[in-house]
Symmetry: C2
Subunit: 565 residues, 2 copies
């Protein structure tokens, strides 16, 4: 018997009525809005109504520096949630909504995998309740208001060469990266160069994810900076009179979506800010609700602990006021072997045969990355637990080595077989997390609000990445001066750096030291509430391959979807 496909497993799932799931979370039916047969939205009032409930332990799932294949973080997050059910604890999972661009591009779906999935996976991957589309609409309304303002006479005195607001679409479309608009006749707007990003990369998405309430969202949207005047003064969405309409467009999208795992664990799915240039974390609103609904709230942070988790600690937790108890570091044998520097893993190609042979020495040789990422979690006063995400090609000796390294560093560790075994396979991991969560919470930010933007960047670069220092381009220095002058220096930093190395060079594996972080440009997401230095080529609009997933997705004769996942 071959192992069934994700779609086959998902189709055989026995879903509980979603209102029953909400009821088990303590969320009354008056706080629910049904969307189709298996999803409810939860009204934002839920956070206030449940404020008296005992808060759950707050667990973030992060990872060592991944290979281009990813190390199964979402699957581990879902599996861990299911695992708590096997040790008598109530868990709630909170994850991002997948972007449809990659769904039709390379991945064909993103709902976990194997026996650790969010269902219905078709809904999760396609539209869900329309939140992504609402973000697209709000973002592009602001763009239309901006270009209309220029066309009607540019009363706000925009510098036509310093307009930073682009447009967005939730599709992988490389041809839209760089475009010229406003061609045609004098009735067709003013010509200028701009482009489209994928919706996940929209500042509106990041703003929605970091807002605490609808009123907070309204205020933050007004602060979005869309460009600068001739004398380098920021111009905002509020000045363009667009923020009210944008909020109205997002009135439903701010309500988190409730789905479930294959084992009926509640899953809050909400927002999907892009990891490349934004937080890569699901929403604050979902966590403010979920923290009151069980023994453990498990959320996922994109990329490795140097990236998603650092942003989770210093940006998302600043916005939410929540204090994480445990960070789960997902590690795989293949990734640690790759960190030895001996193997090259390329997305879309089979793994090298030698990498699959039993070789605990290579695992040990790649351990520096794991050690550094454990340290990065500790820097924030949070208890680390190493989750060894098991693959059928792994060898027990290799798992043993990872466990030893973790324990040397004083971290708990557990092998997890949630992909093939579901929650049962994550029970040991769940127990380790539960134990770690009993330690006193010593959570702290890496830097204070009132440090300068340069101080914040230097702190992350040296303490988290292990860089010797930071090299700012002239352009970046000028931009930092502009932002300090404009009053943005209180904002936290969201580093836009490769996720494939702890350094800024994707080729450097392990935990390199003695290198310098190049900051070539700095941008500000003032509405969302962070400044993001660009340290390398950051793609904000993916392309399609020669054989995209979209070419194979269709309906079968029973109108069931084929080709997803």
């Amino acid at each position: 018997m071959p192992f069934p496909s994700d779609l086959e497993i998902a189709r055989n799932a026995v879903l509980k009525p979603i209102e029953d799931i909400a009821d088990e979370m303590g969320i009354g039916s008056h706080l629910l809005e049904r969307y189709g047969e298996s999803v409810v939205k939860i009204k934002t009032e839920a956070a206030d109504e449940l404020a008296g409930e005992r808060p759950a332990k707050y667990v973030v799932v992060t990872a060592i520096t991944p290979t281009p294949l990813g190390e199964g973080k979402t699957t581990t997050t879902v599996g861990l949630g299911q695992g708590f059910g096997h040790i008598g604890k109530r868990a709630v999972v909170a994850i991002r909504q997948p972007s449809m661009g990659p769904t039709f591009g390379i991945k064909g779906g993103a709902a976990g995998g194997g026996y650790s999935q969010v269902v219905p996976m078709e809904l999760l991957n396609l539209h869900l309740t329309g939140d992504m589309h609402a973000v697209t609409a709000a973002h592009n309304l602001l763009a239309a208001m901006l270009d209309n303002h220029l066309y009607q006479g540019n009363e706000l005195d925009f510098d036509m060469h310093n307009i930073t607001w682009r447009r967005v679409l939730d599709v992988n479309d490389r041809a839209l990266r760089n475009i010229v608009i406003g061609l045609g006749s004098s009735a067709d707007g003013l010509p200028r160069q701009t482009g489209f990003d994928i919706t996940a990369a929209s500042e509106v998405m990041a703003t929605l994810a970091l807002a605490r309430s609808l009123a907070d969202l309204r205020a933050k949207l007004g602060q979005i900076v869309v460009g600068y005047t001739g004398d380098r003064k920021p111009v905002t969405a509020e000045q363009l009179q667009a923020a009210g309409s944008m909020t109205v467009l997002l009135r439903e999208a701010i309500k988190p979506n409730l789905l479930q795992t294959l084992e009926n664990t509640p899953v809050l799915v909400h927002c999907g800010p892009f990891g490349n240039i934004a937080t890569g974390n699901s929403s604050v609103v979902a966590d403010l609700i979920g923290i009151r609904c069980g023994d453990f709230l498990i959320t996922e942070a994109g990329f490795g602990a140097d990236m998603g988790a650092e942003r989770f600690f210093n940006i998302k937790c600043r916005a939410s006021g929540l204090k994480p108890d445990v960070a789960v570091l997902v590690a795989t044998v293949r990734a640690l072997k790759a960190h030895s520097g001996k193997y090259r893993i390329v997305a879309g190609k089979p793994l090298p045969d030698e990498l699959l042979e039993e070789n605990p020495e290579d695992v040990a040789a790649g351990a520096a990355n794991l050690r550094k990422q454990i340290e990065n979690v500790r820097l924030h006063g949070v208890a680390p637990v190493v989750a060894i995400n098991a693959f059928p090609t792994d060898h027990p000796s290799e798992h043993r080595i990872i466990r030893e390294i973790a324990e040397e560093m004083g971290a708990r560790a557990a092998v997890s077989t949630h992909f093939s075994d579901g929650g049962r396979g994550a029970a040991e991991l769940a127990s380790a997390v539960a134990e770690a969560a009993e330690q006193p919470n010593d959570f702290r930010f890496l830097y204070p609000d009132n440090a300068s933007l340069r101080e914040k960047i230097d702190t992350i670069a040296t303490l988290v990445y292990g860089a010797a220092g930071v090299d700012y381009s002239d352009n970046a220095s000028r931009q930092l001066n502009t932002y300090e002058g404009a009053g943005f220096s209180h904002l936290p930093i969201c580093m836009a750096k490769t996720h494939l190395s702890i350094s800024s060079n994707p080729k450097l594996k392990g935990a390199p030291t003695g290198w310098t972080l190049p900051v070539r440009e700095v941008r500000a997401s003032v509405g969302a509430g962070f400044v993001y230095p660009i340290c390398g080529e950051m793609r904000t609009m993916p392309g399609l391959s020669a054989d995209p997933a979209a070419a194979h997705i269709d309906l079968d004769a029973d109108a069931e979807i084929v080709g997803l996942s």
Copy 2:
């Protein structure tokens, strides 16, 4: 007491549970999917399950040639639906979903008006259940697949200068009308000129509106022509392997949405194809369901009877197989006065004072348009009823004149005060429609399928518009030859002509004769299933004004929407 605003009236509406509305239609709960608190989607299986029910009388609401202000067609449609409740008949209303572009542009909402509205109006005007967004996503995925195909080597041999597929967004954004994409580096696609239309103008929208089922939609999407090869052969969405994914994206959007009027009449809201270049009619699927759910199914066709109703008869009814019984022609005193040629009505400006004075002679002087539009309904073997949509500034003598003209033409007529009085004000109109519906159904198409494209165009121009003939540009002739050669000659015609005159010149009022229809270009919506000749400047992407509605839409302190309508 000033007359309350539409939003105030809508907020005071007492909604019935939407499942009760469905139940009264005979639609079982197993056929419903809830979306939020006041909307259900109806599964497409409903049409088959209800096939044994007695069909409703089928009523299309159309109009005389309108002024730029519109003559209250949607409001009359909704009011008439409510009116049937006052004469003991069960009516179902079927209308288009409003586009968000105009909602944030000029109109601020489109849900009827006064005491004849669809509620909740906020939902109707904003996102609804996401169908428009699904159309946007499917359309733009096809565009991305197309540009990716060019980038990957153009194996299908597209002529780069004969690519007809553009992109769409549901926003008024003139700067996107004409753009150049694919700039940047060699990794960023191939540079070429293209543009964005508003989502309502998408052929995907027209295709969804004309499909009879999901399987039919899948087939039609595959037939969409996106461009031509060097030797003028059409290239389809099927050849680009995009039609399967597009159908998957539209799997929920094909299900009609059920809302209600202020008086709890069921309203099917489904699809919103653009009147300028597409049918301007709501969906076939909604009508196939609605026709089994009451005594009367009332649907609306965009613009005047020469435009929307002609397309309704010859395109939509061809696709659905349904036979209309009655056509309601909405007429207003102000529009008939305008057809006298003595007044100029401009959108956004107050009506001329003289136009508001009692003047039945001017009404009579504009009667030619009403007479011709009654004739246009009769051409299709359908019984006309003139609905005099009453305004507070009208005079009884003016209403009397309209009634006399209608009766001279053998048509029934009724004054309707549904705007100020709700369904009660439309009871007389409902009775007139019910009487007219008792006549034997003599419905017929204007032209047979097997007429040539030129014969079809000539027939519409001369019989419906009253033109002396048609003048084809060289370009149009070449295109017609291409389409005949490609096997598209069996398709019906969707004329893209101004709606502000029965002729092709928006300045000509009444019912002009002796003029020639200029066809400067002909395009083919092969997936949707029609060929559309362009007879004048047809805008497919609106712009925003100097003071757009979006600048005034916001949330108030109670998080209620202000500024809509």
